[in-house]
Amino acid sequence: MSRILVAEDDPHILRVMCLWLSRQGHEVLEARNGLSAWELVQQHRPEILITDINMPGMDGLGLLEKLKGYAHAPRGIVVLTNRWDHREIGQSLAEWGVRVVPKPFSPSKLAELIEQLDRPDALPEVERRQ
C-alpha cells in the first residue's frame, strides 16, 4: 500500500478518487491545484502521484516541471487528461515514464496502473529517466 497524492480541481472527482483509493488501503493526500500538490510532495513525499492537467494556478504540466528536478519525486506518476489531447500529451510524457490516462477515466484501468506502481520494486521515476 502506498502514499498517494491526488491533484484534481473537480471536487467531486477528487472526493470519489480519494474515497476509492483509501478504501483500497492507500494513504491518500488531496490537492485542488498544482501548487498545493507541490507543497504536499515536499512535506509528505508521496510514492505515487495522480494528477489532472487542467487546474487553476499551477497546472499539471507545471507540477511535472517542478518534479523533474526534484530528488524526492514520486516513483510513479499518472496523468489524467482530456481525451482530445491525450495522445499528444501521452507522447510528450512517455519518455519521462509518466503514464497517461484519458478522462473520463476507467477505474478498473487506473486500478491496474496503481497496482503496478504500488509494487516496491517499481523503479522511481527519477531513476528511470536517467
Binding site: H12, V16, L19, W20, S22, R23, Q24, G25, R83, P102, P104, F105, S106, P107, S108, K109, A111
Partner: protein, 534 residues
C-alpha cells in the same frame, strides 16, 4: 473490479470507522465505550475491559473476558445482558444492539470512573447506571445513523465508479466506431461494447428472418445457433411484438436475465438485440435499459449510415462497370479488358501494400482507364491493318479524353491521375506528357503494367493472344524502360499463384484453352507495348 473485492473493501472501511468511532466516543465520554460482535471485526472492547480483564489484547475476549463480554462478542447477548449485567469488578454496564455492515454488533458501555480511581470491587452509586444507559442510547442512535450514511456513501462511490467505467467505455466506443465504415464491423464492435457495459454473458442479434448473430462476450466470438435458440425459444412472440413496437423490455427466468431492444437499420429493417446475464447474476436495472436504448439508437444510426454509404458505393461501382462494359463492347476484342485491368491493378496494389481504401480507387482507375476510347471513331478502333499517323494521334489522345470526361465528376477526382498517365513510360517516351520515372504517379505505373499484360494475353484484330508466359517475358524485357521495374517485379511474383489458382475474373487469361501456348507465339506488332496496348 469484481464483486467480491468490493465486498472486502466495504468491510475494511467499516472496520476503520468502528476504530475511529470508538476512539472518538471513548474520549468524549465519562464512560468507557466499545463495539464488539460479528459486525465489528476486529472487536473494540471498552478500554476499561481491555485494561482490567483483557491485558490490552482485544483478541482475548473469548479466553479471558467475562460472560457479558463473551456473549456480546459472539452476538448472543440476551435481554439480561443489555441492562446492567454483572461485571466482575462491579462496574455498571449497558449494551445496545446495532447493525454494522449488515451484521449485528453491540455498542457496550462500562462505567469508567476517573483515571486515578482504582477498581475496588464495590459498585459505584446506582444513579451512575442511569447516566451510562442514557449516554449509550443516544450514542447508539447516532451510530446507527452514521452506519446508514456510510452504507449510502459506499453505494454512491460504487455507483459513481460504475458510471465512470461506463462513460469511459462509451467514449472509447464512439471514438472507435467512427473509424469503421463497414456495417458488419460496426455491429460487432457495438455488440461487444454493449456486452461489456452490461456485464452480459451473451449478446445476440435476431434478424428479421430469424437469423442469429451471437456474440459470447467473455470470449468475444460467435456462439453456436443451438445456444442462441435456447435463449430465444421462449421469447419468439415477444420478440416479434417488440420488433413491431421498437421498444425495450426485460425478462427474468430460471435460465437467464435478458434485456431485449431494437436495432433499427437501413430501410427500417429492425434487428432485435438480446443481452443475457446468468440467472445468479444481477437483474437489469433502469440504468441498464437507458444504456441499451441510447447505444442501440446511436449504433443503429451509424450502421445505417455505413449501409447507405456501402449501397451508394456499390451503385457507383455498378454503374461505372456498366458504362465501361458498354465502351469495351464497341470493340469485341477488348470485351472485359477494363474489368480485368481493374482487377489486376488491385492485386498488384494489394501486394505492394496499398491501403484498402486506396485499393478501391486503384480498381476504379483500372475500370475507367480507357473510358476516353469512347471518343475514338470505330473505324480507327476496329481497323485491322496499320494505322496512319493521324489515326495514331487520335488513339494516343484517349488518356487525355478520358481525363476530360471524368474531370467534372467530383467523386472520381482520385482516379484522374491514373487515367491520364497510364501510357507514360519510365524512360520518358510515353504520352500524353512524356513523364519519366518517379514523376509518373504510382497508380498510373500499376495500371500500365496491368493494361499491357491484359492486352498481350488477349486476341486482337491484328494478332492472336500471347500465353501468360510469353506476355511475362515481354514485360521482363520492357521493365525499366517502357514499364516500371518494381511493378513488373511484383507482378511477376504473383503469376505462379494466379496460374495455380486462377480467380474467376481472370479465367479468360489463365484457362488453358483459348490461349496459344505454342512455341514462337504470335508476331508482336511494332511498338505495341509502349503505344498500342489496351
Amino acid at each position: 473490479m469484481s464483486d467480491s473485492s468490493q465486498a472486502n473493501d466495504t468491510k475494511s472501511i467499516g472496520k476503520d470507522l468502528i476504530g475511529q468511532l470508538s476512539g472518538a466516543v471513548s474520549g468524549a465520554s465519562d464512560h468507557s465505550l466499545g463495539i464488539v460482535g460479528s459486525g465489528a471485526s476486529p472487536p473494540h472492547p471498552p478500554t476499561r475491559c481491555l485494561r482490567t480483564c483483557l491485558n490490552n489484547d482485544p483478541g482475548q475476549i473469548q479466553a479471558r473476558g467475562c460472560s457479558w463480554l463473551r456473549a456480546a462478542a459472539s452476538g448472543r447477548l440476551d435481554a439480561a445482558g443489555l441492562h446492567n449485567a454483572r461485571c466482575p469488578y462491579g462496574f455498571h454496564t449497558a449494551a445496545c444492539p446495532i447493525r454494522v455492515n449488515g451484521n449485528t454488533a453491540f455498542l457496550l458501555a462500562i462505567d469508567a470512573p476517573p483515571e486515578d480511581h482504582t477498581p475496588t470491587g464495590k459498585p459505584p452509586a446506582e444513579d451512575r447506571y442511569e447516566q451510562v444507559l442514557d449516554e449509550l442510547e443516544s450514542l447508539s442512535g447516532a451510530f446507527e445513523k452514521v452506519g446508514q450514511l456510510l452504507d449510502e456513501n459506499e453505494g454512491l462511490v460504487d455507483e459513481v465508479l460504475r458510471s465512470y467505467e461506463q462513460l469511459n467505455l462509451i467514449f472509447d466506443f464512439t471514438q472507435q466506431i467512427i473509424s469503421f465504415t463497414n456495417a458488419d464491423e460496426i455491429e460487432k464492435v457495438l455488440l461487444r461494447r454493449l456486452g461489456r457495459l452490461l456485464a452480459a454473458q451473451t449478446v445476440l442479434v435476431v434478424g428479421s428472418q430469424n437469423t442469429y448473430r451471437c456474440y459470447d462476450v467473455s470470449v468475444g466470438k460467435l456462439i453456436s445457433d443451438g445456444d442462441a435458440s435456447v435463449l430465444t425459444e421462449q421469447l419468439t412472440a415477444e420478440l416479434e411484438a417488440l420488433r413491431k413496437s421498437r421498444s425495450i423490455s426485460v425478462h427474468s427466468s430460471a435460465s437467464a436475465h435478458i434485456v431485449i431492444g431494437p436495432l433499427v437499420r437501413l430501410d427500417d429493417r429492425v434487428d432485435m438485440v438480446l443481452a443475457s446475464r446468468p440467472p445468479d447474476g444481477d437483474e437489469f436495472t433502469s440504468g441498464d435499459l437507458l444504456l441499451v436504448e441510447s447505444l442501440l439508437s446511436f449504433g443503429g444510426q451509424i450502421i445505417s449510415n455505413a449501409e447507405s454509404h456501402e449501397r451508394l458505393r456499390r451503385m457507383s461501382l455498378e454503374s461505372t462497370r456498366a458504362l465501361v462494359a458498354a465502351i469495351d463492347k464497341k470493340d469485341h476484342y477488348t470485351s472485359g479488358h477494363s474489368e480485368r485491368v481493374g482487377y489486376l491493378a488491385k492485386l498488384i496494389g494489394q501486394r505492394m501494400g496499398v491501403p484498402a481504401d486506396q485499393l478501391r480507387v486503384l480498381e476504379m482507375s483500372g475500370l475507367l482507364h480507357d473510358v476516353g476510347k469512347i471518343g475514338i471513331p470505330e473505324g480507327i478502333l476496329l481497323k485491322p491493318g496499320k494505322l496512319t499517323k493521324e489515326e495514331f494521334e487520335i488513339v494516343r489522345n484517349h488518356p487525355r479524353m478520358g481525363y476530360e470526361i471524368l474531370t467534372p465528376i467530383a467523386s472520381f477526382g482520385e482516379v484522374l491521375a491514373g487515367v491520364l498517365h497510364h501510357h507514360e513510360n519510365p524512360d520518358g517516351s510515353g504520352y500524353p506528357d512524356g513523364l519519366a520515372g518517379e514523376q509518373i504517379p504510382l497508380f498510373a505505373r500499376i495500371l500500365h503494367v496491368a493494361d499491357v499484360f491484359d492486352a498481350l494475353t488477349s486476341t486482337r484484330s491484328y494478332r492472336v493472344a500471347f500465353s501468360p508466359e510469353q506476355a511475362c517475358e515481354i514485360l521482363c524485357k520492357e521493365a525499366g524502360t517502357k514499364l516500371d521495374g518494381e511493378v513488373v517485379a511484383v507482378f511477376l511474383e504473383m503469376i505462379p499463384g494466379l496460374h495455380a489458382n486462377p480467380p474467376e475474373e481472370l479465367a479468360a487469361i489463365f484457362s488453358s484453352e483459348g490461349t496459344d501456348t505454342g512455341l514462337g507465339g504470335p508476331a508482336l506488332r511494332a511498338k505495341e507495348v509502349s503505344h498500342g496496348a489496351g
